[in-house]
Structures are given as C-alpha cells and as structure tokens.
C-alpha cells in the first residue's frame, strides 16, 4: 500500500487570494469519497499550480482566536457571542494570511509506514501527496490511514481463523 493508493485525488484546492469565508465554505463542502461531507484540510496552490501552503480547520479556529489569549488564562472571561464577532471580522481575511506555509508532504510512491513516519514526527494529520514533478496529486488524511490500519487488523484476524 502506497500513498497514492490511499490518497483522495486532488479535485478541490484553495488559492492564496481566496477569502477565509470562501475557504471555510470549500472545506465544509468538499466531498471525501462516498459518505462524509467536508474535509479537515485543503492544499493552497498558486496560479502555476505550485503548492504554497495548507489550510486546515485548525487554522480557521486560530483565525478567530485572539493572540493575547495564548499569553494568559483568559478563557473563563470570554463572553457569549465573542467567537461570532471575531468570525465576522475574520471572514474577510485571505487564505495567504492564515495558511500554514511550512507544509509537510509525502511522495506518491511513499510506503504507508513512511507516511505515518512523516505524520507522527511532524504532527501533521493531513498531508499533500506530490508526484515526481512535485505537483500535488492528492491529499492523504489521517483518517484514511486509520481505516487502512483497521482493515489490516481484520485481515490478520481472518488469516488466523482460517
């Protein structure tokens, strides 16, 4: 099993100039395989289709979280409606302002273990998959790796009982 066998082929992606509102909409509407609606991250490609960043739902959470709250324990003193106010303010921000630019990627021919190695060591739960020309061909999500591991466990059990 290689990265390219598990990845979701690239269909939807973000552009640096997209507003946060558009990005959030795309994240929640993008379809992954059959059943689920929404993805947890999308790559950001510039006009030459070059990978320049990644936006995850965590980045969207950060975009409404004021930086000063990292400095002290102030969560208990927030008020109802605070997030909504900040969300309205953040909706006009651009993808390039909130994206993570230091992107962890895997190659399409990487083995599953190499993918897990990248994911765990870099705490990256969603990684773009690159082909030999360094173009993004898909996204590998932590949950798909998890399903693959589950499948392997079942296969093993099957093997024993037979």
């Amino acid at each position: 099993m290689k990265a390219k066998d598990l990845m979701i082929p690239l269909v939807k992606y973000l552009k640096p100039g997209d507003t946060l509102k558009e990005a959030a909409n795309l994240l929640s509407a993008a379809r992954r395989r059959e059943e689920k609606g929404g993805v947890k991250a999308l790559p950001v490609l510039d006009k030459h289709a070059k990978l320049v960043g990644i936006v995850s739902i965590g980045d969207v959470l950060k975009s409404v979280y004021p930086g000063y709250m990292y400095l002290m324990d102030l969560g208990a003193f927030s008020w109802d409606g605070m997030v909504e106010t900040f969300a309205r303010k953040a909706s006009g921000k651009h993808v390039k302002d909130i994206m993570t630019t230091d992107v962890i990627t895997v190659k399409e021919d990487s083995t599953l273990m190499e993918c897990i190695d990248h994911m765990l060591k870099n705490k990256a739960k969603r990684v773009p998959v690159l082909n030999t020309e360094n173009a993004v061909v898909g996204m590998l999500y932590e949950s798909d790796v998890f399903y693959e591991i589950t499948r392997a466990m079942f296969n093993k059990d099957k093997g024993r009982t037979q």
């Binding site: 004021p66 930086g67 000063y68 709250m69 400095l71 002290m72 324990d73 102030l74 208990a76 003193f77 927030s78 008020w79 605070m82 106010t85």
Partner: protein, 456 residues
Amino acid sequence: MTLETVTRAELFFLDLPFWIATAIFVCAYVLIVSEKVHKTVVALFAAGLMLVLKVLEQNEAFHVEEFGVDWNVIILLISMMIIINLMRPTGVFEYIAIKSAKLGKGDPLRIMVIFAVVTAVLSALLDNVTTVLLITPVTLLIADALDVDPVPYLLSCAFASNIGGTATLIGDPPNIMIASKAQLNFMDFIYHLAPVVVVMMVVYIFVIKLIWKKKLVTQDELKQRIMNMNEKEAIKNPLMLKKSLIVLGIVLTGFIFHGMLHFQPATVALFGAGLLLLLSRTHEPHHVLAEIEWPTIFFFMGLFIIVGGVVKVGLIKWLSIQILELTQGNMFATSMIVMWFSAFASAIVDNIPYVATMNPLIIDMAKQLWPNLSGIQLLQHPDLMPLWWSLALGACLGGNGSAIGASANVIVVGISEKAGRRISFFKFMAYGMPIMILTVAISSVYVWLRYYVLGI
C-alpha cells in the same frame, strides 16, 4: 585641580589598553544600538574580548566588584524572576486585572485610570517587562469586550509601568544597578523617589483623562460583559497562591528592613526564591528555572565586564573629569545635566547599558570632588545623593521617550502588532515624548526644591 587632572588625563592616551578597551566599548555600544546583532551576543563577545586581550584579568571580571560582574544585581534579578514564575500559574495576576476592570464598572475611561494605577503599583513591586506581560493581554480582552480601541490602553500601560517602576529599588533595572553601586537600600528609594512618582502619577492620570475622554465611549450593554466576568475563576491553585503571597510578604518585609538588618537586597530575594521553590514542592525545578530570562541576565553580565574594562583603563575617569569641568563643580547644574541627558539617552539606547556606564562615572566624579573620602562616605556624600536620584529618574523616565526606550515598550508594541493594531515608532513617540518631558520636568522641580532649596 584642573591643570593637574588634565595632565593626568592626557597620560591615558599613551596607553595601549586604553585604546583597546575604548574601541571594544564603542563598537559594542554601536552594535547594540544598531540592533544588527542580538544585544546579548554583542555583550558576551565584547566581554570575552576584554578578557582575551588582557584589558581585564578573569579574576577581576568575575570577582572584583569595581571591574566585574555585579552579582548583587544578577542574583536579585534571577530570584525575583523565579518568584514571579512560580506565582504566575496561580492566576493571581488575572484575578487582579479582572477585579480592577470590574472596579471601573465597565466604564472605559475609569478602567484606563484604574489600570494605570494598578500597572504602576505592580511595576514598582515587579519588573516592568513582567508587569506589562501580565497586564496587556487582559487589557486587550477588556478593549474587545467594550469594543473600544485598545491602543490607548496599551500605550498607557507602557507609560505607567515606566513611571511606577521608578519608585522602588526593584521596580526598574537602573534602580537595581544604582542601589548596588551606591549601596543604597530599599527604603532610600521609597523615601527619595516614591513621593515624586506619586505626584507624577496624579499628573499622568489627569493627562490621560484629558487626552482620551472623548475617544473612549462604549454602550451600556457592553459594560455588562465586564460585570459578568467572575474574577474568582482566575484562581487556579489557592494553596500555592497562599504560599506565594506569604513568601512575597516575607520578601517585601525583608526589602523594607534589609538596610537595618545589614542584608543585601539579593540576599532577601534569593532567600524568598529558595523558600517558595521549597514550598511549591516542585520535584522538577527545570521549567521554573528555564523560564528565567537568561538573555537579559547574560546581557547584564557581559555589560558589567565591558564597562569594567573601560573603568580599569581610565576612560570613565577621563569622562568624569570632562563633565566636572563643564559644570565647574556646580552640583545642581550637574544633577540637571545628568537627569536630562539620561532621559534622552535612555529614550534612544537601552537604559541598562547606559546606567552601567553612568554608575562608575558618577563614582569617579565623586572621587575627583572628595579625594580623601572612600566607601560609603564617598558613595553617599550628601552632595552626591541628588546625582544618584537624578540618574535614576532620568534613566527610568527616559524609557517613555520612544518605542525602543524601555523593554516594556518593545513588548507592548509587539503584542499590539500581533493583535492587528500596529503602533508606529512615531505614534509612540507622539505620546511618549511629551510624557517623558513632563515627568522629567516634574522630577527637575522636585530635585531642585527638595535637595537644593529645602535641603531635606
């Protein structure tokens, strides 16, 4: 005196170490001001050069009070940082800030005034950087709650911390350094500087009310957000809070009586830090110690050695002779020059290297004036005392003059920028410089009136 000192001064020029030390000193200070290389790196490298080029012997740099590291300053700073690092997680500072905002009943201007007073008092007891790091996040939260511009609050926080820090020995690093060199105690600072700081704060509050009155308005329903905050939720660890407050009480009592008990301030602080570490039952003190601002500590160490080098070769002595010739030994004129020059110098350069240089300069001036005296009789000669206070007032208050004048300002501007509200260099100066001039003017009148007219 003049003729003899000039010939003596000229002798220095023949000396190779004099030029080596002066070159290292000047290059280091230029690099520090330029900010091309981190100031701690510059200070440590220049200190290393002073030793390698044999301007100073290692023993002098490490163990001789006149030329080397002032361990009283270093240990006092480290100890206070340990105490504060242990106190922070208790939530006491969040409690104080939220309680203050509620005391202001959600009124933006009242909150601003109360925050200015709280910041000034905290700055007098803790160092300024710590104070603004503790106050600004809450300030930004309150401004968001009230939907008002946070910039006036942030500026006020920086100004109040620089004014408040002037009041005590531990309030601002210049005072710690001056106290150590001049062997002044905690109560000397309270007695000589706190009264004028109180006057300045009263004037300052009047000024901020005047400037911001019309600009800071909010709706009544937003005030309710502040009133709904429950400050008691801030307290995370009541037991540790009790222990911290007891230790802080012991340390402050120790500071008040350290002169009488013949303890150095660092002794008091070190005892407090050790006691609180013990009471905190920290099995692994690593993280508490790691949070000490080591770059600042090493900056101090490097500077002490650099300045020790130029003291040893006589540069500082030569400068002191020049100043005395300029003022003709008139102590009032010298005080005023020291105060105003210190204020403007501190607005441009970090006041820590500035005071590190000025301290030995003032001692050398005293040696020229009273060659037969030594020790505490020389350092605390009644005619010299106004000079120390002028230096402290100028160096501490000068910090308000520009965005880079004090570390607290740099922190405030940085936090403000992260919150999406950039305070430009000139915007800071537009408010800070008038406040600096106003407070230094008040200090000048105070020094003149108290020491040269009333003589008390």
